[in-house]
Amino acid sequence: MSENEKVLLDRAKAGEIAAFEQLIEAYQRKIFNIALRMVGNYDDAGDLAQEVLIRIYKSIRSFKEQSSFSTWVYRITTNVCLDEIRKRKNRKVISLDEEIQVEDGEMKRQVESNEPSPEDTAEKSELQKLVGDAINDLPEDHRSVIILRDIQGFSYEEIAQMLQCPEGTIKSRINRARQALKNILQNKRELFIEDYVK
């Protein structure tokens, strides 16, 4: 942790919002992207990332500085995301296209979205979407290690600290997760290697 970060951390612990915002400046995009891959939906990821940051703000006084700040931040990120995913399993998700009754008759449920415009999305390669969907089909313990290792590039040791598991468990979980992801991708596009790679 740099001197500057340490100073900001102390000020944030005293409740100073401006210092907190500076402190998390370097982390929030990564937090958002982890959330995005965990839930697979742009709007929900935004809400979830905000929840993560609020949780960090509320508990920053309890950060004991035994682990690195970044590990602590991403541990909270994965915990909040995993909690949300588990919560969702227990409730029915409202379909966004479901018809709802209004006084004038029926209309399509309209959902506001911050999602990049259709033009932007069209430019994104089909491949990105395919892989994103495949990651979303993974069970959450596999999904989290793929996101942390292969998308975010954390080391085995860091991931073990974030997920609070022994490193040995993480090693075998990463291997199994990659095999599972390979199977999903092959099912989605049997010929994905020929079609999409080089």
């Binding site: 919002i17 995009r29 292969d150 998308i151 291997n175 990659r178 095999q179 390979k182």
Partner: protein, 369 residues
Amino acid sequence: MKSCSEVNERISLYIDQELSQEERVQFEEHIHSCSACKAELEDILQVVELCRGMEEEELPANFKEDLHRKLLEVKIQEEKTNSSRAAMTRFIRIFSPIAACLVLVLLVRGAFLSGMFNMGKASSSAQDMMAKSEMASLAGETPENGISAKIAAPQDGDANAQLDQAAGAGEYGIGFAGETEAAARPTAEDRSQAPRLTAGAVDQAINGRVANMFVYNDSPETQVETVKTLAAANGADELQVTELKSVTLSYSITAKEKPSEGEIQLYFLVSNTRMDAFTGALTTNFNQGDVSIQPTVEQDVAQIQNALATRLVELDGKIQETENNKKTSDKESLNKLKEERARINDELDKLNCPSDYTLVSIVIQKRPE
């Protein structure tokens, strides 16, 4: 490492260079002689490559603004909880001995009276006394009263004066004043944790006092950080225009989304107890003449309330008119009217809350010619 399953288990470790030198050699030997494992390694490598190629998305629009607003809410909520908890602790400390003694006195007196005189009269007088003591307790609990005011007043003398007032509010409390003083004298801990925001939400805050300030400099943008630092040092929280727009905005400050060229406008929420320190810091920091501090204005809340109430009556009339006139019933305008009515009701609610803050607007601009 002879079996394919052993090799399969280690594919990821191999890719991530987590194998020992010896294991790596054995792994590579197997791969060269086993086409199935070689194919599996290539597949997994492709998967890893695909994941590594996933693009990072930008933060959604307004992400930081939304977060800032939520953080302010959390902070105010936390400080509110802390100060009401502190007030409650004091309340219990002060009033529980009084209450205990009162009950004892009433019981003894009640028993005595009921034995000697008319039973009904005695019990009614006991009830009366209970009610009075309850009222005294309530008086002590309201935020305007001595107890929570004391939190913001660190001097012992002041605090005790307030306490006397609080204790004296009850007819029977005055005899115990000496005891309550001792019990409720602020501890060192209380003083060090004097909250910067004692109560009230951002929106309530804007109903009280407002102050306009100007800082003159040839390149305004160079002074932004200085002003923000001075504000932060005085416990001020910066407000964004979006936050200001959602609340009853002071009549004497205009939140500009896009200030005029060469002009930067910042807004802060400053605790009333810190205003003098804040203006002092500004005048010390800038050369005399480079800073202009307008007198703090107390808003005429009653006048705003009247204006809002008049508008409310007007709206009610219009809504009724629109609803009754089925033929030309226009849902959209009806909804708009109803929305406005709800908003005004909200604003009236907010106006009922006294504020501990001053809304400060600081305009940094080039010196007027």
